[in-house]
């Protein structure tokens, strides 16, 4: 598969008189290949939007190499801009224009046939509300309009920054279906979101960023598998006795109320056999699979309960200075 987005060693520092120097993105890498629905995750202030802005030529990178659809960005971005649909954060539209007029103006500015406006309004579910002024739109409707603007160009690459912002559950589901249908039609989608369950449902690949550095990248199932501790939840009549038996067999076992969390077993049958031989019959034996949320919280250091987390408290990549990242496609980068 060919690369649609390539970012290598992206670095961006912001300077201000009041706050001094702040590194927003620090040697970040991203690879999105044709046909992927690629999730881009990171805590608030981790550098997601700065990365997307740099990629789209809205902020100037200090260093690094970027390419979009094979063209160096931002130098030759205009060559491929007609094939890239993007929304970055929540776009602001002119409140006095109707949704239809807003899109018509963008279509005109971008040299897109205005007949496409009705098509995209239909796609995002705004067809019947296209003649209303944007200032009368709800947050979710504005978000739909933003997605519609990104779709106007019939893009090969769609970059969506938090597209589910303000959407109701039905809207989130429609957005998910829309992305799937676009991907099925051959559109590559890069989507950043905080709704991790959505990303897990929609995306086939994921990149996680923390404090401006990549901390994980690869297929979603492989990223999850990389954090699978092979633990099982066991419900048994005598948990304390069961735990002793399992520990004696060099497994880890933690009693949690009436259940056990058992680690170190390669197979559930090992646990079942060990306990069954001692007359302890297992009522429940469930593998504990990590989900994207737990992996995200672990990697970004955002998982401490009851501790108010500051935006700059996110974890650095393994190695302290971010020298190594988990990349299941390339192995561990040094």
């Amino acid at each position: 598969m060919s690369a649609v987005i390539e970012i290598e060693g992206l670095r961006k520092t912001f300077h201000s008189l009041r706050n001094g120097r702040r590194v927003a993105v620090d040697g970040f890498d991203l690879l999105v290949e044709t046909g992927q629905i690629h999730g881009f995750l990171g805590p608030n202030g981790s550098g997601k939007t700065t990365t997307l802005r740099a990629l789209l030529g809205l902020v100037r990178a200090d260093s690094g190499r970027m390419a979009v659809l094979g063209e160096p960005s931002p130098q030759l971005l205009p060559r491929v801009a007609g094939r890239v649909g993007a929304i970055v954060e929540s776009p602001q539209f002119f409140g006095n224009f109707t949704g239809h007029r807003t899109l018509r103006l963008l279509a005109r500015a971008g040299g897109v046939p205005t007949s496409r406006v009705d098509e995209v309004l239909e796609l995002v579910g705004l067809h019947d509300r296209g003649d209303e002024r944007v200032k009368a739109y709800s947050l979710g409707m504005k978000q739909r309009l933003a997605v519609a603007s990104a779709l106007l160009k019939d893009p090969q690459l769609l970059i969506l920054d938090e597209p589910a912002n303000g959407l109701d559950p039905a809207g989130i589901r429609e957005m998910r279906d829309l992305m799937r249908s676009l991907a099925a039609a051959g559109v590559t989608v890069l989507v950043s979101s905080h709704i991790l369950a959505e990303i897990q449902l929609i995306c086939d690949h994921v990149t996680i960023i923390s404090r401006g550095r990549r901390v994980a990248a690869g297929r979603v199932d492989e990223v999850l598998a990389g954090h699978d501790r092979h633990e099982f939840l066991v419900r048994v009549a005598e948990p304390e006795r069961a735990a002793e038996l399992l520990r004696a067999a060099e497994l880890t076992a933690t009693v949690d109320g009436g259940t056990l969390v058992v680690g170190g077993a390669t197979d559930a049958t090992v646990i079942s056999k060990l306990l069954g031989e001692q007359g302890l019959w297992v009522g429940e034996l469930t593998p504990l699979r990590p989900d994207l949320e737990s992996v995200f919280l672990e990697l970004t250091g955002a998982g401490q309960p009851w501790v108010p987390r500051q935006v700059d408290d996110s974890a650095l990549p393994p190695g302290g200075q971010g020298d190594a990242v988990i990349d299941l496609e390339r192995g561990v980068d040094a």
Partner: protein, 339 residues
């Protein structure tokens, strides 16, 4: 071309632009209505009387001048010795006056187009300069502040083209509006002069002079529009342009002028932008400076104490200022992080 068409639609859809156009129409309507209400077509008797008064006034000026010459030659009758005469009689030479009394000066309540067209045009130019500056500043300021420019750059990632299209659209629109408004404005007052007042003497010189003021006024409107656009681009906000102008006016035109007067600096007016605006618009502006005559009057010679700023250097100053700020705005916008 598509970008310019889209920008045109955006510009005309702006509430602020619509409001300013309404204010322009309102100011125009009020001025025209009050002029019309306060003027009447002079009767033959009124005209005859006014012409007689004008002739008398011109004769009086000539007599006064001749008396001045007579006093200089020592032939002034003793009965006239109480009259006041300037040291230099040429000051009151009727031939050297800017204008001589005419009949229209003696027709109270009668609007004379020939007499009033120029001041009326200055008023309109002042309004259009304000219009251009505010529209220019708000057009880009609001777009930068609201993220409209970012939206556009996602579609056309060519910053110079996008900003250039905006500036070009702004200048073209403001110029078209200003020319149309001023022509309709002058035509309306010409009709009022013809039907409910006096047209006056509309000679070739009159139209040439009025055309020159109009042309210079249009240039000033364009410069003001570009200036508002440039400062708002540099400051990322409409209020940056308004603040910069207010600060300049208070700190330099008022405060700076005061300080220069206290320290008795020579020719302080030539350090003020307002002087160059006035000189450009009127063709020439004269300023008094007491220091000019120091030394000259020691030998008893005559010294006026005035110096002039003409339109050519004034245009250069205005072009340098506007061009410099516009170039700076483009250079900054080219490299700026749009967040």
């Amino acid at each position: 071309m598509n970008l310019v068409r889209a920008e045109l639609e955006r510009l005309f859809a702006r509430r602020f632009v619509q409001l300013m156009v309404v204010l322009l129409a309102l100011a125009f309507a009020v001025t025209a209505a009050t002029t019309l209400a306060g003027s009447h077509k002079p009767s033959a008797a009124e005209l005859s009387s006014a012409r007689a008064q004008a002739t008398e006034a011109r004769q009086s000026m000539e007599t006064h001048f001749q008396q001045c010459l007579a006093r200089r030659n020592g032939t002034l009758p003793p009965s006239d010795s109480e009259l006041y005469f300037p040291t230099d009689c040429s000051e009151i030479d009727p031939i050297r006056q800017d204008r001589l009394p005419i009949a229209a000066d003696f027709l109270p309540g009668v609007f004379s187009f020939a007499q009033q067209a120029e001041p009326l045009l200055y008023f309109l130019i002042a309004f259009l300069v304000l219009f251009g500056f505010l529209v220019g500043a708000s057009y880009i300021g609001a777009d930068l502040n609201s993220g409209g420019v970012v939206n556009l750059l996602l579609w056309r990632p060519r910053r110079m083209t996008v900003l250039g299209a905006k500036l070009g659209t702004l200048l073209g629109t403001v110029l078209a509006l200003a020319v149309a408004a001023s022509l309709v404005y002058l035509a309306t007052f010409w009709v009022i002069g013809q039907t409910a007042g006096l047209a006056g003497r509309l000679s070739g010189d009159f139209w040439r002079s009025l055309g020159a003021v109009h042309g210079r006024g249009m240039v000033l409107v364009l410069l003001a529009s570009a200036l508002g656009f440039a400062i708002a681009t540099l400051g990322r906000h409409t209020s940056a342009a308004l603040g910069a102008v207010a600060a300049y006016a208070v700190v330099w035109e008022l405060g700076g002028r005061l300080v220069l007067e206290i320290v008795d600096a020579p020719r302080p007016d030539q350090l003020m932008l307002s002087s160059y605006i006035g000189a450009w618009l009127t063709g020439e502006a004269r300023f008094y400076d007491s220091q000019i005559c120091r030394g000259d009057t020691a030998g008893g010679g005559y010294c006026e104490g005035f110096y002039s700023l003409t339109w050519a250097p004034s245009l250069l100053v205005l072009l340098l200022l506007t061009g410099g700020l516009t170039a700076a705005a483009f250079a900054v916008f080219r490299r700026r992080d749009l967040i």
